[in-house]
């Protein structure tokens, strides 16, 4: 240590200001030379007093007289003490790393910017952006900035550590000693201050209570500060604890909390207050409505399941022209009520054995849902055959209304049977000796055992005692009948064969005549038979011809033959040949000549190209169109008192005729009861896709017995009480409810159901459906 005197370093030499670089070199040299007390005459020089490490641990005291430039004490070292005898310029203590800096006046902008260690004592006020970007390195004590007066704007921006003490004594702005927008981006450190302020960044800083330890630190160090800046007398004035406040940085966690009103509070306290309860639409919507979850129950479900038991017709029932609910019969079988299943048919047809069991192509089976997936339908003909022994259902007493039925074939018998079931008396008139029409006289014996037919006809006779045979009513009789009966039903069939206008047509044998003769074994055909018209009647003729000794049987048609089913199979079985297209030119002794010139040799040529009804007897009030009686949907002719059914209306199957009889009977009964005639129900057939055949074994081709058939019936549209829905419901919402009268229903609990539609998708029978819920306002 050379001397206790100040070593003077002037910023002026020969009347000229030295460059800051020269002054710095001289200061460094002075310290290197061992000077420890330096007096600097400053003339705005930059960065005076920093970087004086060359003294090692020995303290260096730099006193600055005259105006220093910017960044006094920048990069200051812990050994350095700098005293500015007047005001300081910008950035005093910039990047200070340990120097103590005393300013005996005001300090300008940027004071303590980026300071990391050391202390800055300012005897006056400081400018803008003081204590910004300051640090606290845990290896060292935190940096300190002491300001006797006030600070300028943007104080403590990005302050990351250190302690600032703002005493508020003689501040520049007595109303705000912290300046405009202090503490923006502050993340660390403390700010003690005394005096009024105009706010600080709430997001970054917060006021905290001054603890006793803080207070002790403050007043102890305040004494040192005041002594240093030569104002010890202020001590008592500046140590009133209640005047001091302490700002500290919010932790990152605390910053997440936005200092603003929650939307919920805004909604309640601002929004609803201005608009009224319920907000924007509280006057138009129920204000108690709140948000709903995505998965809902009860009335908030978008879709709800509906148990549509028996609301749609099963395809078998819908396919059956007679309208027999076949699935219902299988259900009865499944329930062990096989007798009821058998008896049920008599409500629909007087010929369950003859027709369902033998003669019908069984449209119910063709329409069966199982066919959609190429699975074998349950064999209904077994049930049909069993119906031979069915018990007659009870018939109601006769009401006194009478209906004349002209024609005792399948159609006439059907309507008479149905009318009787409805309590009306039907009287049948027929031209033949016995009842049965086509069944009795035309259909080959090979196709229907006579004992079956006879048994069913016997049953008919029991039900319908009033039958006038060998009657052929003419127009006059019809007029009389109109007076004698409430209604007349024409069911005369189609008995007039169509023939071809070709040479030799007189040689043609009409199929109906042939079948009629063959049935009583009175036909002769020879060895070679040609049949014109290869429909089912033609097939019957072929089979019968074979039975009567024919060996070469040819069926010709102008188009691909329309014959099908048992008739076709039987004809093919006897070796009949089918040829088409063939156009007949003439019938000769040799046989049938075609337009091609070919002659098909034949002993007999049978013509089977259709038959027409013989309607000459009808009164003029009944309109005939193209040879058939014109009727409306309920088989009423243009004479409202006269109905017409069967082949006289339109050529069809036996089941068509039987079904027409049933529908017409219902219409007549309704009219007699002064009701609007029902059109046979408006029920639609269930959509095939609703039935789930996946539950069934697709490899089953044959069924051992009716019980096996019944188990494989998919019970389309009618609940089979299998419990799949109860089991598949994820919410356990479905239960089976007994209705007390022997019936049951499946119910979905709206409080549990979420409207997933699993029940509808899983239901084997297609009973459950998923429908849109009632609209909500």
């Amino acid at each position: 240590m050379k001397e206790q005197q100040f070593y003077r370093v002037s910023g002026l030499e020969d009347g000229r200001r030295l460059e800051s670089r020269i002054l710095e070199e001289r200061l460094q040299k002075a310290v290197a030379d061992g000077h420890r007390r330096l007096l600097v005459e400053a003339y705005g020089h930059h960065g005076i007093g920093g970087r004086l490490w060359k003294s090692g641990d020995e303290p260096v005291h730099v006193r600055i007289e005259g105006p220093p430039g910017q960044r006094v004490g920048s990069m200051g070292f812990p050994n350095t003490r700098i005293e500015i005898m007047g005001p300081a310029s910008d950035d005093t203590g910039w990047l200070n790393a340990g120097a103590d800096i005393v300013v005996h006046g005001n300090a300008a902008n940027g004071t303590a910017n980026a300071m990391a260690q050391g202390k800055i004592y300012v005897a006056g006020n400081i400018g803008a952006r003081g204590m910004t970007m300051t640090k606290h390195n845990p290896r060292f004590d935190p940096p300190e900035l002491w300001v006797l007066g006030s600070v300028g704007d943007y104080f403590a921006e990005f302050m990351a550590g250190g302690i600032a003490v703002i005493c508020g004594h003689n501040p520049q702005n007595p109303e705000n000693i912290l300046g405009y927008r202090p503490c923006v981006g502050m993340v660390g450190g403390k700010i003690y201050f005394r005096g009024p302020h105009k706010g600080y960044s709430q997001a970054d800083a917060k006021l905290i209570a001054i603890s006793d330890a803080d207070w002790d630190w403050l007043i102890n160090n305040l004494r040192i500060f005041l002594e240093t800046v030569r104002c010890p007398d202020l001590y008592s004035r500046l140590t009133r604890r209640e005047e001091w406040q302490l700002l500290t940085a919010r932790s990152p966690h605390e910053k997440l909390v936005q200092p603003r009103r929650s939307m919920n509070v805004f909604n309640r306290e601002v929004w609803d207050k201005e608009l009224g309860r319920g907000g924007l639409l509280g006057d138009l919507l129920d204000p108690t409505q709140g948000p709903v979850p995505v998965i809902t129950t009860g009335h908030l479900r978008r879709f709800v399941p509906v148990w549509e038991n028996r609301e749609y017709k099963a395809p078998c029932e819908a396919s059956c022209p007679t309208g027999i609910p076949v699935h219902e019969r299988w259900r009865l079988v499944r329930e062990g009520r096989i007798d009821e299943a058998v008896d049920l048919a008599l409500a629909y047809t007087p010929f369950p054995a003859t027709v369902c069991g033998y003669l019908c192509p069984n449209l119910c089976m063709q329409g069966c849902t199982r066919k959609v997936s190429n699975m074998a339908p349950p064999d209904v003909s077994r049930l049909g055959k069993a119906s031979l022994t069915a018990d007659l259902p009870p018939f109601p007493p006769i009401t006194g209304k009478g209906v004349a039925v002209i024609g005792g074939g399948p159609a006439g018998i059907s309507i008479a049977w149905q009318l009787r079931r409805l309590g009306h008396e039907a009287v049948i008139y027929d031209t033949e000796r016995t009842l049965g029409g086509k069944l009795s006289f035309l259909i080959p014996k090979t196709r229907i055992p006579q004992e079956v037919l006879n048994a069913e006809l016997e049953r008919v006779r029991k039900v319908i005692p009033h039958v006038y045979v060998e009657q052929r009513p003419g127009a006059q009789e019809i007029e009389q009948m109109k007076l004698d009966y409430d209604f007349i039903v024409i069911a005369v069939g189609a008995q007039k064969p169509r023939v071809l206008p070709i040479p030799g047509k007189e040689r043609l044998v009409p199929a109906l005549s042939f079948l009629r003769q063959s049935k009583v074994d009175q036909a002769e055909v020879g060895k070679r038979v040609v049949i014109i018209g290869a429909g089912n009647v033609g097939c019957d003729a072929a089979t019968e011809a074979y039975r009567l000794g024919a060996e070469e049987i040819t069926l010709i048609d102008v188009q691909q033959p329309l014959s099908f089913g048992k008739e076709r199979e039987a004809a093919e079985a006897v070796g009949a040949r089918f040829r088409w297209p063939c156009f007949s030119k003439a019938v000769t002794e040799e046989g049938l000549e075609l337009t091609t010139g070919e002659v098909i040799p034949a002993d007999t040529v049978i013509i089977s190209i259709g038959d027409m009804p013989d309607l000459d007897f009808l009164p003029g009030s009944v309109t005939v169109e193209r040879g058939f009686i014109k009727v409306n949907d309920m088989y009423q002719t243009t004479d409202p008192q006269i109905f017409a059914i069967g082949d006289a209306v339109k050529l069809g199957l036996l089941t068509d005729a039987i079904g027409a009889g049933r529908k017409a009977a219902r219409a007549i009964s309704d009219i007699l009861a002064d009701k609007i005639p029902s059109q046979g129900g408006t029920q639609e057939m269930i959509d095939y896709t609703r039935i789930k055949l996946e539950y069934f074994d697709p490899r089953l081709e044959r069924f051992e017995d009716v019980a096996a058939c019944a188990l494989q019936c998919s019970s389309c549209g009618t609940c089979r009480d299998c419990g799949v829905c109860i089991n598949v419901c994820p919410q356990a919402a479905i239960s089976r409810r007994e209705n007390g009268n022997g019936t049951f229903e499946m119910v979905a609990d709206p409080d549990k159901c979420i409207g997933c539609g699993f029940c509808a998708a899983a239901c084997p029978c297609g009973v459950w459906n998923l429908v849109e819920n009632e609209p909500l306002e």
Partner: protein, 552 residues
């Protein structure tokens, strides 16, 4: 389809559909939530037959009945292939699935469904946005860069620390000499609003659900009253709830009048009771998503609430004609409509037209420059959204917004009125998520502000729609998020309060991002409207067309 395979011309397999449901049998718990939530019933419980063929080693095959077929039934989630129930990819099933066992995936095959969604001869209609063939890196707006970074050349600003006053003007700004003259003469000066440059564009009450509409309005009110951000929202056509008309919040609202004039008699009746003037009136002449097409609110969306607000009976379809019916020229349309709307509020409320992006925009603009009442011009580009439109209109009609707004601005510059008639740009702003960048690009191309619609639906309410044809069923009232549905069962899924919170989030985040863009440009107190020297793009033709720098 039946098992034995009947097909029709429009029978599709799952493979033909644009969205395919991937379902994991092992994870599924068959809880029914997916089928309950699916808006279009694209999925159902499937009943499946499982066949186990049991064959013992042939050497041990003793009796014939050792061979067996065992049939079992198992259940699963099955996708329907009927076009009416084709999956729309909304993924609500995934949202509600507790086990993560179901998700719709986009087909790797070209979509065959699009050839079949015209059953009955009705072309496809839908809601949503323009479908673009594949996900590009972004639109033209996304490719514009801000290349003028000040640093040392201007006082660069700190977005986080500096204060910004990012406001724009809505209203006719008179030239200074004209202003002074009127001031001296105490003449009428057009009303001008100082508003935030990001405006929630017109989405009608009806197109949006009540919950969504209220949420947006509440968010806007909060931004204004709690945060001091003067955000404005346009009603769209379809009226305005009576309570809002009579509240102070009306000042944050731009009322729209369109060719259907729905709800306007209710607005007129509310005039004597209004506490505040609305911010402005927007006259809608066109919509970017479906230019030249009118609006249509289908009857099933017109419930009691909508009917009350629109002033119509319930359950009737509400068509808006493509054009205002009593106007036959630009001059007449502009003069007549603007004058009428000014009169409603005593010439205190700015009135401006909104048109769809079009190559005829300059003709409209030039007319407005000569009309001292015109308060601005809003242009809605082709990428705008809609609640319902023909697919062909959405995908193929309209004009991109960037060049349209640029042409208009440069034309204003040419006639020296670029500071007088503010232009507002909309249509696909932020469609790829870059809201602030897109908005800043449009502003620097010349827009005084931007309007957003779809962005709010996505950001504030979780709309799942996309440009790759996801969901997009706004038109049928089945919005699974409740954003566009009028069925309380759907719209009550949406909590207006939560929507409002998201609106606030969106604007605060946007504000920060916008500052991040304009601060390095040295702008803090005025929007850099038309500051195109800050823009560049790495596409020479685009640069040339937009008259901005080309950079690589």
């Amino acid at each position: 389809m039946f098992a034995n395979g009947f097909i029709g011309p429009d029978t599709l397999s799952v493979k033909d559909l644009p969205w395919q449901i991937h379902w994991d049998k092992d994870k599924c718990t068959l809880c029914g939530r997916c089928t309950a939530v699916c808006p279009v019933h694209a999925i159902e419980l499937g009943v499946h037959r499982k066949r186990l063929v049991q064959t013992p080693p042939v050497g041990e095959l003793a009796r014939k009945h050792d061979l067996a077929n065992v049939f079992q039934v198992f259940y699963g989630i099955r996708q329907k292939t009927d076009p009416a129930h084709a999956c729309v990819g909304c993924a609500m099933c995934s949202l509600v699935c507790p086990n993560g066992s179901i998700i719709p995936c986009r087909s790797d095959e070209a979509d065959k469904l699009k050839f079949h969604i015209n059953r009955g001869g009705y072309p496809r209609r839908r809601g949503g946005r323009r479908n673009v063939p594949e996900q590009p890196p972004g639109g033209i707006l996304d490719r514009i860069k801000f290349t003028r970074i000040s640093m040392l050349t201007d006082p660069a600003l700190d977005a986080g620390r500096h204060e910004f006053e990012l406001r724009t003007l809505l209203g006719r700004v008179l030239p200074p000499e004209e202003s002074l003259r009127l001031y001296r003469e105490q003449g009428w000066v057009p009303p001008v609003r100082e508003i935030y440059p990001l405006i929630i564009g017109s989405m009608s009450f009806g197109a949006l659900s009540p919950a969504m509409w209220e949420g947006l309005q509440m968010g806007v009110a909060y931004l204004n009253e709690e945060l001091g951000i003067p955000v404005r929202i346009c009603t769209g056509e379809g009226g305005c709830p009576p309570r809002l008309l009579r509240s102070r919040f009306l000042k944050y609202v731009i009322l729209q009048i369109a060719s259907g004039y729905f709800g306007w008699d209710e607005i007129i009746h509310a005039l004597p009771e209004m506490k505040e003037d609305p911010c402005a009136v927007e006259i809608k002449y066109g919509q970017g998503a479906k230019p030249g097409d009118g609006g249509l609110l289908m009857w099933y969306k017109v419930n009691k609430l909508i009917a009350a607000i629109r002033g119509v009976p319930t359950g009737v379809s509400l068509p808006s004609p493509p054009t205002h019916q009593t106007k036959y020229s630009i001059e007449e349309a502009v003069a007549k409509m603007i004058q009428s709307m000014y009169m409603a509020w005593g010439f205190r409320v700015p009135v401006y037209p909104k048109i769809s992006g079009t190559s005829t925009a300059l003709a409209v603009l030039n007319n407005l420059t000569r009309n001292p009442y015109a308060a601005g011009l809003a242009i809605d580009g082709e990428d705008g959204g809609t609640g319902a439109a023909y697919n062909v209109s959405m995908d193929h009609m309209g004009h991109p917004i960037a060049s349209n707004i640029r042409d208009c601005y440069l034309n204003l510059v040419k006639v020296g009125q670029q500071n007088e008639i503010p232009l507002f740009a909309g249509g696909g702003v932020g469609k790829y998520g870059n809201l602030a960048a897109n908005a800043a690009a449009l502003i620097m191309l010349g827009a005084s502000g931007v309007q957003i619609g779809k962005y709010m639906m996505q950001a504030a309410a979780g709309c799942v729609g996309s440009e790759s044809d996801r969901c997009n069923i706004c038109n049928i009232g089945l919005c699974p998020k409740g954003i566009t549905a009028q069925d309380p069962r759907l719209y009550r899924r949406l909590d207006p309060e939560k929507v409002a919170e998201r609106v606030v989030d969106v604007f605060l985040a946007f504000d920060t991002e916008l500052k991040k863009i304009v601060a390095p440009l040295g702008r803090s107190t005025s929007l850099p409207i038309g500051m195109s020297d800050a823009l560049a793009i790495n596409d020479r033709s685009a640069a040339e067309r937009l008259q901005i720098k080309y950079v690589v």
